[in-house]
Structures are given as C-alpha cells and as structure tokens.
Symmetry: C2
Subunit: 198 residues, 2 copies
C-alpha cells in the first residue's frame, strides 16, 4: 500500500485486503467507506463480526455452523432422519434450504479432497459422517460437480456402500432456464445420457 | 437473510452486506471465510478497523484523512505551497501521489455538489478551502469528469476567480493506451478541441 495515503486509511484497507476476492482497489474503497461512517457503526460492525466468530460452533451431529450444541435442523423432529445429504460447506446447506423440497438431514464436510492443495480425508468431517449412519437408509452425495467434488463423492461412496446403505449422487444436466447452445460439452453429454421419459 | 442458515453466519453476513458494493452472496462468502478463521485473526481484523476509525482525523489544512493535526503532505517543506489541487476524496490524493509529478498541495472536498442527492455547498469543505488561499497562485480543480464533478469545479471556480487566483481544470482527452474506436463521443470531441501542436 502506498505510504502517501494516510495511516488510518492504509490500516483499514489492509484489513479488507485480507478478505478473499478483495483486491487493493476494493479494499481502499471499503476502507474509505468505513472511515466515513460514524464511530459507533464501525464499532458495531467489528463487534458483531467478533461476536459471530466467538459464538459459532460446529453442530455435534451434522458439523454445520450453529451457536448451539445440536443445530436447528438436526433437532427438528419434522425432518426425516434416514436421509443424509452430504455437502462441502454450510453455504450449500443454505442453498438447499432456500430451494426447498429436501426434508432429510445434512452433513457438512468442510472441504473437498484435494491432493493438489494437500487436503486429505483426515481434514474433512468424514469420521463424523461414518459415526452417524446407524439408522440411515440413503446418503446423497451433493458435492459440487467438479473434479474435487466427484473424487470426494466417490471416496465417501466407497466407504459407505459396504455398510449396505444406498449412496446416490446429484443429477448432472442442463440448468433450468439455460440455453442448449451455451451448455458445455460434458453437461450436454450427461444431459443426453440421463434423459428421462416424457 | 434466510433463517435456515446458522445465526452466527447470518450475523457475520449481515455486517458485510452493509458494505457498499457487497451483495448477499458475497457477504455470505466473506462471512463464511471469517467464521473459518482463527478467533484471534477475526479479533485483529475487527480491532484494526476500529483503531483506524478512532485514530482518523481530517487534516486541519487540506482535510485529507490523517492521524495527525496537520497531515504529512501539508507539513512537507519540499512541496510547493502556492498550488492547491482540489479533489473529491482522499482516494484521489492517493491516485495523484501514486502517479507522481505533482508537487503542490491538495484540498479534499469530501464529496461533490449534487442537488439530486441533497448535497449542498455547506456539506463540502469549501469554506476551509477559501480560508487557506492566502499565498496561493493556482487552484487546480481535479474533480471527476462527471456532471457533479464539473458543476462543483464551476461553482468553486466562480468563488475563487474574483480573488485574482488562477483556477485551472484537468484536461479532458483520450486516456493513455486506449483506442479511438472505443472512446465515447464527448471524450472524442474534447480530445479534438484540445489538440496540441506536435
């Protein structure tokens, strides 16, 4: 950061530049915004972030972020206990819940297997998944349709199938509202392979 | 924010969503990043922002952000004291200093006249500018080449000219490294009007 800009501006910009996807220009813009806010609002912003970080725990059951021991979804009696949808991160749980239509439970891996980045099975919440499969009839592997997502789904599937539990994978296909001409080849081939009768 | 995502995640995301140019998806991504950081790093992030906000003052002379009474630029004996470059915001001072080549002083207005947004002359640091024109020979109006920037430059120019001080405006023209075919009409006309001899 240039030493010509004022120290407080540089200090604030430095903080924002630590965030993923925030470059120097954006960091400076955000810092400028912060320094123009009333002091109380900046304090509130900062305190709420610290509060959120301090109060966050991983649900003992599904490993999702929560401020309780067992999260709301896991302790909801209206949800099916025999289906577990395995996702990469808490954001994915939000996505499914927003979409609606799924009534089972979740399991958050907090990452995907990635030998390139040195992420091994021990770093993911796989042990915790295996430990909660008692009455489970189906495990839905809902990791992203990427190389890492596929590899992780395959790896976990291979661990679970011998236990006599059904393991399924999200469907590949054309996204709703998209156009054929813009679909990539892999998606198009999968959409054709997985065609269903009208 | 959906009530299905965990409370700490929602709380953190809410904070980021307050920032300008940060939508819900980005806010959630940043919140997720924060909750995955070690607690000390989140505290450091928060404390530094509050520290920056608390330590920031406006330079008594040029109104730029600083942590001192008189900023570094204003107290630098090597700078020309008879030239003042008037800009909208502290970011613009950084931009000029980064570019180099200017050795005079600055004056930060902290905004532009904008009747549409209810920003009047009283809210800008115009009084402070007029109060420091004693030995000044030239005031360079370096507000953005936008409607508000032009209007503000004109307004301030009209106040200063009667004091016998030279008032200048940044040149309009083609940006370096750009292509004629992509220039907008106004820029092209101005570039032609302001052509210089080779």
């Amino acid at each position: 950061m240039s030493d010509h800009i004022s120290l407080p501006l540089a200090l604030a910009a430095e903080q924002f530049a630590k965030l993923p996807g925030v470059g120097i220009k954006t960091a400076q813009r955000l810092a400028y915004h912060m320094l123009n806010l009333p002091e109380e609002e900046v304090c509130e912003f900062a305190e709420n972030l610290v509060k959120a970080r301090k109060s966050v725990k991983l649900c003992r059951c599904c490993q999702n972020f929560t401020e309780r021991d067992i999260c709301e979804l896991c302790s909801d009696d209206n949800r099916r206990k025999d289906q577990i949808c395995v996702v990469e991160s808490p954001k994915d749980v939000s996505a499914f819940e927003r979409a609606g239509g799924y009534e089972g439970l979740y399991h958050v891996l907090h990452g995907l297997l990635s030998p390139m980045d040195g992420v091994t099975a021990e770093e993911l919440k796989i042990k915790e998944l295996l430990a909660r499969l008692g009455d489970v009839k189906e495990v839905i592997m809902a990791t992203n349709p990427t190389v890492e997502g596929e590899a992780t789904a395959m790896y976990i599937g291979r661990l679970i199938k011998p236990m006599g539990i059904k393991v399924t994978r999200l469907a590949y296909g054309l996204p709703a509202g998209s156009a054929l001409e813009f679909a990539d080849d892999v998606t198009l081939v999968k959409a054709l392979e997985n065609r269903s009768e009208l």
